[in-house]
Amino acid sequence: MIDATSLDLFELNRKIKSVKGRKIVINNVLGQRFIGSGVEDKKSIEIYGTPGNALGAYLNNCDITVYGNAQDAIGDTMNSGSITVYGNSGDATGYAMRGGLIMIKGSIGYRGGIHMKEYREHKPVITVGGCAGNFLGEYQAGGIILVLGIGSEDKVPIGHYCGTGMHGGVIYVRSRFRPKHFPPQVLVEECDEQDAKVIEKYVRLYAERFNADAERLINSEYYKLVPNAKNPYKQLYTNN
């Protein structure tokens, strides 16, 4: 147990790394950055308050839970483990993450899941309970982004320019309306059975964690956004 009151980010992170034990709880967190970055031996970190930017950057094998909101760039280049936020999170959530699970109870800011990618057993997943801001899944190269739009059932819960530069992975959007206005790299498709299974799996995880109505969420309409061609960049060049 650590009290973060009046500790700056250096002091707090030093403390986190020096505390023995694989499970820690941090109280009164107020904007300290980089929590969970470079912690090798910790299994779980519980945070009360609002952690600062780059929470869980390069995270490996550690589960972080935030009882509060999170700021920008959480899970930057994260490799494995999980980040669960009982609130909203800011811009660039899950930037370039390669593995693990990020679950946000509420909404996320701009550029969520930007440049996330997958590799073999690593398949990153971001589940967003509420809405996602503009540029969701920009340059996405792999992994799954699931946007549930809870409480925003009257509109499509993703912003503009979603999937710009997307060349891998998939985005699932729970929505009654077919999402529109995508860049040419993105295709909007109906979900098939395989997709439904994936959606169900992550919806159940979400519902369990945040006490949501799993059945209602599962029995909704979903759309699937995927990249348009296998190598969308290939045609762009002329050899000189």
Binding site: R120, A141, N240
Partner: protein, 501 residues
């Protein structure tokens, strides 16, 4: 359409009195220029795909081959060169961005060649490096404002992490993927032997090379390929790539075809998938954001490794460098626009950025003016061709230099400017196993060691000639330089006097 016909750039000339029809050229040319005609019993060639890499010329046992510029010319025109016209034909046909590789071949001024180095005569005696110790070791990283000692004379000031180089030369970033595994191994082993560093580039670090970690700089670029905790901790320093001299302002694209088994494992992306490095880091929109990435990397490595921020030399480089110096970075690497690349849009490569000499001079001056020069070290690259360039760079204010094109040349690169085709006949810019095999790392690393040792000796000799016995003492010592044939403004930016003054 006949306009699509572009006459080959080169002619392959075979002296039939020398050719013994051994077929070596045919086996060696990955561009399949040479062939053997069974019926006529002659070696033939179709130079259409020849890139003038000189592989066949070098391998031919009887010196029967030469590659010469093709004589067929379009009607000469002072406004429209043949290249200009052919590029239009290509784009009219393909409709794409023109793609090239290596450094720009255009004739931009090379300021290194317009600066001359001083030597001492009569008053301040010159030093012979064979007789007297001469220091070319450099330390890169933040230098403390003052040093404190305890009563026994031991330093008590806490020094930040830094890099120690036996020679003021490092191998700059070239990713595994853009160059071959054997090329990487040659660089890594040479860095170890020389007591300096090579740089992984943005393609991750191959498992086999973790053992060279002490001499490795690991790079983090916008694509974050192969970046994970173990990787960050594997090297001695971390470089954040913001830009590259050959293609400032744009990202990278390693085509899916080059992502084979091992490259895929190292980059941690699926085989055959395109590896796109977006132009910007999408979490960096300001110096304050850069600071955040710098410190997230420091936090992930427990403040044990210096962080380098690499930028391309662009118009506002001095102001940008000043920001970087305040971001918590320990080293700034500046890459000039004549630097090489594995692939870049031709127009960007040939038109964007500024010469490294001017960028270096203005950055060093700016940081001095602001009193923050000692907060960071400066490393420059992008067209360092020889030891004299290095001496001039140090005199203009660099702490050390990065070399890449020169290093590849030591490994056999013949500057055919075709790296982006992935069929490098010298086993460097390719992933084709039969081609990679041609570069023997055992031989390659020794050639790199030879080159750098030779340069280091030349540096000592030139230093000695100036009566200076340590490279530190030359740093920023612009009085040791004079310009020739430079205009006032150029002299002013370089901060040097004209020869004769």
């Amino acid at each position: 359409m006949p306009i699509n016909y572009i006459y080959p750039k080169y002619d392959v000339v075979r002296d039939s009195t020398r050719c013994i029809k051994c077929g070596a050229c045919m086996r060696q040319c990955a561009n399949e220029v040479h062939s053997y005609d069974d019926e006529l019993d002659v070696m033939k060639s179709d130079s259409m795909d020849c890139v003038d890499c000189q592989r066949c010329v070098s391998i031919c046992p009887t010196r029967a081959l030469k590659i010469i510029p093709a004589e067929n010319r379009l009607r000469p025109n002072g406004s429209w060169s043949q290249d200009d016209i052919y590029e239009i034909y290509r784009q009219a046909e393909g409709g794409g961005v023109l793609l090239s590789s290596m450094g720009t071949p255009k004739n931009y001024p090379i300021y290194w060649d317009k600066m001359l180095i001083n030597a001492s005569q009569v008053t301040n005696p010159s030093i012979d490096p064979l007789r007297e110790p001469m220091e070319t070791r450099v330390f890169l990283g933040k230098k403390p404002g003052k040093l404190e000692f305890d009563r026994k004379g031991k330093i008590t000031t806490k020094l930040g992490p830094h890099l120690e180089l036996n020679v003021p030369i490092m191998f700059s970033a070239m990713s595994y993927g853009s160059i071959s595994k054997n090329a990487h191994e040659s660089l890594a082993r040479a860095a170890e032997e020389l007591g300096t560093y090579y740089n992984t580039g943005e393609g991750g670090l191959h498992k086999d090379f973790y053992k060279y970690g002490k001499n490795t700089i690991v790079q983090v670029a916008s694509g974050r390929f192969g970046v994970h905790e173990e990787y960050l901790n594997a090297g001695s320093a971390i470089e954040i790539k913001m830009g590259q001299g050959a293609k400032p302002g744009i990202g990278g694209h390693l085509p899916g075809a080059k992502i084979r088994e091992e490259v895929s494992r190292t980059r941690m992306i699926p085989m055959g998938a395109d590896a796109i490095s977006p132009a910007p880091h999408h979490d960096i929109y300001s110096i304050e954001d850069l600071r955040q990435l710098v410190f997230s990397l420091k936090e992930a490595t427990n403040y044990t490794k210096p962080v380098i921020v690499k930028i391309a030399a662009v118009h506002n480089v001095a102001a940008i460098a000043s920001g970087i110096a305040r971001s918590g970075a320990d080293i700034i690497a500046i890459d000039g626009f004549r630097g090489g690349t594995g692939a870049a849009p031709t127009r960007t490569r040939d038109n964007v950025g500024i010469p490294i000499e001017l960028a270096l001079a203005s950055v060093d001056q700016r940081l001095r003016d602001e009193g923050i020069r000692n907060d960071v070290s400066i490393v420059v690259g992008g067209s360092i061709r020889n030891s004299a360039d290095i001496v001039k760079a140090v005199a203009l204010g660099a702490d050390a230099v990065y070399i890449a094109s020169a290093a590849l040349m030591a490994l056999g690169c013949h500057q055919c400017h075709s790296c982006h085709l992935g069929k490098c006949n010298w086993g460097i810019a390719t992933q084709r196993p039969d081609l990679v095999k041609r570069l023997n790392p055992e031989v390659g690393y020794k050639r790199l060691v030879n080159l750098v040792n030779a340069w280091n000796y030349e540096i000592k000799e030139i230093l000695g000639g100036m009566g200076i016995n340590s490279i530190e003492a030359l740093k920023g010592n612009r009085l040791m330089l004079r310009g020739v044939g430079l205009a006032d403004k150029e002299l002013e930016i370089l901060g040097i006097k004209h020869a004769g003054e």
